[in-house]
């Protein structure tokens, strides 16, 4: 996968001599060009396996891992998953996912505040992607930095829990603009909180008029079936392209 990544960049050779006069050169290269190139490579490799790939983003503690645990358990036998877990430190989340029996790998970013396409490209090495329907990439809990880094996913899914403020989409607009789906989690707690869910949805749509919004609780199970429908639809679309290719 890593044919043109930064692992071992070839050094340009120069044996000719110039006069080294001070001069200006135009570059005009996007600072994310390398990440974008690697993300395109990931996307091509995922497409070759008709994988449905989701990049889960949120602040820490919104329930990404808990949503995954319940999803993997409830959809066992219907959809085959592979999970990549991103955190700065520890493999606690990977252990929780592994307990569901789904193939999982932990990527520790160390000081890094986000996953990038390079980490994901190497992260999926060794997985049987041909036998996978959905690759779930759980990003580092951070509503800022992961917004800028394309991993090669089909969709960013932003998780927001009702114990956070309803104005999160306004405070972190970059992320909610980059996401195609927003999951409002922990709705079983709504009776105990002063969280205005309609206001939250309005804020999200102000930043991103096209965003799809689902309300759920991975604890009570409420709303999970709509999420599963959305996942199944994504997988079926990929399977459709797989079948079309065979014909």
């Amino acid at each position: 996968m890593c044919t043109d990544c930064g692992c071992a960049p070839p050094q340009p050779e120069h044996d000719h001599k110039h006069d080294h006069a001070s001069r200006k050169i135009r570059v005009e290269e996007n600072l994310l060009a390398k990440n974008q190139r690697l993300a395109m490579g990931n996307r091509a490799s995922f497409a070759a396996h008709q994988l449905f790939v989701l990049n889960l983003v949120s602040s820490p503690g919104s329930g990404k891992t808990s949503i995954l645990e319940r999803t993997l358990t409830d959809l066992k036998g219907k959809i085959s998953f592979t999970v990549l877990e991103g955190d700065q430190q520890t493999d606690n989340d990977a252990e929780r996912i592994a307990a569901t029996g789904v193939p999982v790998k932990q990527v520790n970013t160390g000081a890094g505040c986000h996953l990038d396409a390079h980490m994901v490209g190497h992260g999926v090495e060794g997985f049987d992607l041909a036998a996978t329907d959905i690759l779930m990439i759980e990003n580092v809990g951070n509503l800022v930095c992961p917004a800028s880094f394309d991993l090669g996913e089909d969709h960013k899914v932003a998780v927001l829990s009702v114990t956070e403020g309803e104005d999160k989409p306004l405070k972190y607009p970059q992320m909610f603009q980059a996401a195609d789906l927003m999951l409002i989690n922990k709705i079983d707690l709504l009776p105990y909180l002063r969280f205005d869910i309609e206001q939250c949805k309005a804020f999200a749509r102000q930043v991103n008029p096209k965003i799809k919004i689902l309300e759920l609780s991975c604890h009570s199970g409420e709303g999970m079936s709509e999420w599963y429908d959305w996942l199944t639809q994504g997988v079926n679309q990929k399977r459709g392209s797989r079948n079309a290719e065979r014909e």
Partner: protein
């Protein structure tokens, strides 16, 4: 603080281009940062000094061009200035704006020796 990895990318790209030109030192780096890029120019300035140490760009000046943002309204086609992603159309108030400009984060020009 993704500005740190962006700045590392910036220096990597700058060095690559400078070496291609057989330069031994980079004296000035000009970049563009759009108002909606999600990048804090101050954080890039801070990271630049730290990241250029022991590179061709050590001691180089960093010029940041700030690119104001423009959006086109999907409802009424008005083109309007945007200060943030939360802005609506200046004519009809709709939030469905296509961003035309302001998401740039690019290395534009180098001065080399």
């Amino acid at each position: 603080m993704h500005e740190l990895s962006l700045t590392q990318n910036l220096i990597e790209i700058a060095e690559e281009h400078a070496r291609r030109e057989n330069a031994t030192v980079i004296t000035s780096v000009t970049i563009e940062i759009g108002a909606l890029s999600g990048v804090m120019p101050e954080a890039v300035e801070f990271a630049f000094e730290a990241c250029t140490k022991d590179t061709l760009a050590e001691g180089a000046t960093l010029e940041i061009r700030h690119i104001p943002a423009l959006g086109r309204c999907q409802q009424c086609s008005q083109v309007c200035a945007m200060e943030s992603l939360l802005d609506g159309c200046s004519a009809c108030g709709s939030y469905a704006l296509d961003i035309l400009k302001g998401q740039e984060m690019a290395l534009i020009e180098l001065e080399i020796d």
